[in-house]
C-alpha cells in the first residue's frame, strides 16, 4: 500500500472482537498485568456503586490496535490517542472502524491521520481517537 493510492475518506476493513465474556476479562487481567478488581470482582464493583464489572478500556484499545496492524505493519504506527467515552459492558462485541482524514508530510515521511472509533454491538460508542501512520 502506497501513500499515493490513499484518498481522504478511505476506510479500513472493520475489525470486530469476539463477545467479551467474564473469562475474557479474567484472562486480560492476568495477561495485561492490570489487576484492578473492578474488572473481575462483582462484589468489589458493587461496593463502588457499579451494578456489574465492566471491561478494561485497554482491552478495547488492543482491539483498535488489531484494526491498525491488520491494515499496516505495526512499525508504521507513529502515534495514536484515544478517549474512553463510555464503559464497555460484559458480553459486548467491539466493532472497530477507521477512516483516513488527513494526508501530510512530517519528519521527512509521508503520513496519514486516521479517525478511529470503537462501538459495541449494542450501539455504545466506547472509544474515539486518531492514529498517525507512515506510508511509503
Amino acid at each position: 500500500m502506497n501513500y499515493a493510492d490513499i484518498k481522504l475518506g478511505d476506510t479500513l476493513p472493520e475489525h470486530v472482537s469476539a463477545p467479551i465474556s467474564r473469562h475474557t476479562l479474567a484472562l486480560y487481567c492476568g495477561a495485561s498485568g492490570d489487576h484492578n478488581p473492578m474488572h473481575v470482582d462483582i462484589d468489589f464493583a458493587k461496593k463502588f456503586g457499579m451494578s456489574d464489572v465492566f471491561a478494561h478500556g485497554m482491552l478495547s484499545m488492543a482491539f483498535l490496535a488489531q484494526l491498525l496492524t491488520k491494515w499496516v505493519p505495526q512499525q508504521q504506527l507513529r502515534h495514536w490517542a484515544v478517549r474512553f467515552t463510555s464503559i464497555t459492558p460484559v458480553h459486548a462485541k467491539v466493532i472497530c472502524t477507521g477512516k483516513v482524514i488527513e494526508k501530510f508530510e512530517a519528519d521527512g515521511e509521508k503520513r496519514l491521520r486516521l479517525e478511529i472509533n470503537a462501538v459495541t454491538d449494542g450501539g455504545i460508542h466506547t472509544l474515539a481517537g486518531d492514529a498517525v501512520i507512515a506510508l511509503p
Binding site: 484472562l27 498485568g33 463502588f48
Partner: protein, 147 residues
C-alpha cells in the same frame, strides 16, 4: 479535589523484562490471530528479531514493572474510584521479546471538572530499552470520581 502540588512528581526508574510467554498470553486474551504476536518462528519468518510487543503492550509493561511507588496511593486516590479517561502512545523504536524496558512516570498535570466532582491526573511514562534507546512515551489520563 486533588492536591495540584503533586504535578511534577516523578517515579524512580523501574524495569521489566519483555517475556515471550507473556506476549503469547496477551495475544490469547485479546483474540489476536496474527502468529507474529505469539509464535517466535512466525515472527522470525516475517523478518522480526523476536515476537514484537503489540501497540498497547507498553501500557501493560508499565503496570507489570515492579516498583515500590504507588502513585494513586501517594495521591490518596482509591482504585475503586478511578476510570481510564484517555490513552496515547508515541513510538520511537519497536519493543521485542527479550528486551528489558526501563520506565519513568511523571505526573504532568492535575485538573478538575464539574466543580471538583471529577479529578483528572495526566501521567507520562517514558520508556527505554536495554541499549538506552527511547522506545516511546505512553500518556495516561486517569479520571477520579469524587463523592
Amino acid at each position: 479535589m486533588l492536591d495540584k502540588s503533586f504535578i511534577g512528581l516523578t517515579t524512580k526508574p523501574r524495569s521489566v523484562d519483555v517475556e515471550k510467554g507473556q506476549l503469547a498470553f496477551f495475544a490469547q486474551a485479546t483474540g489476536e490471530t496474527n502468529p507474529i504476536y505469539f509464535d517466535d518462528a512466525a515472527a522470525k519468518a516475517a523478518g522480526y528479531p523476536a515476537i514484537p510487543a503489540p501497540p498497547t503492550f507498553l501500557f501493560c509493561l508499565g503496570t507489570m514493572a515492579p516498583g515500590d511507588e504507588n502513585i494513586m496511593g501517594k495521591l490518596g486516590v482509591d482504585i475503586g474510584r478511578v476510570l481510564h479517561g484517555e490513552q496515547q502512545f508515541t513510538y520511537a523504536k519497536p519493543i521485542y521479546a527479550g528486551d528489558t524496558i526501563t520506565m519513568t512516570t511523571k505526573i504532568t498535570d492535575i485538573y478538575d471538572k464539574k466543580g471538583g466532582a471529577l479529578d483528572f491526573i495526566v501521567q507520562d511514562t517514558e520508556a527505554q530499552n536495554q541499549k538506552g534507546e527511547s522506545v516511546g512515551v505512553a500518556r495516561t489520563v486517569i479520571v477520579v470520581r469524587n463523592g
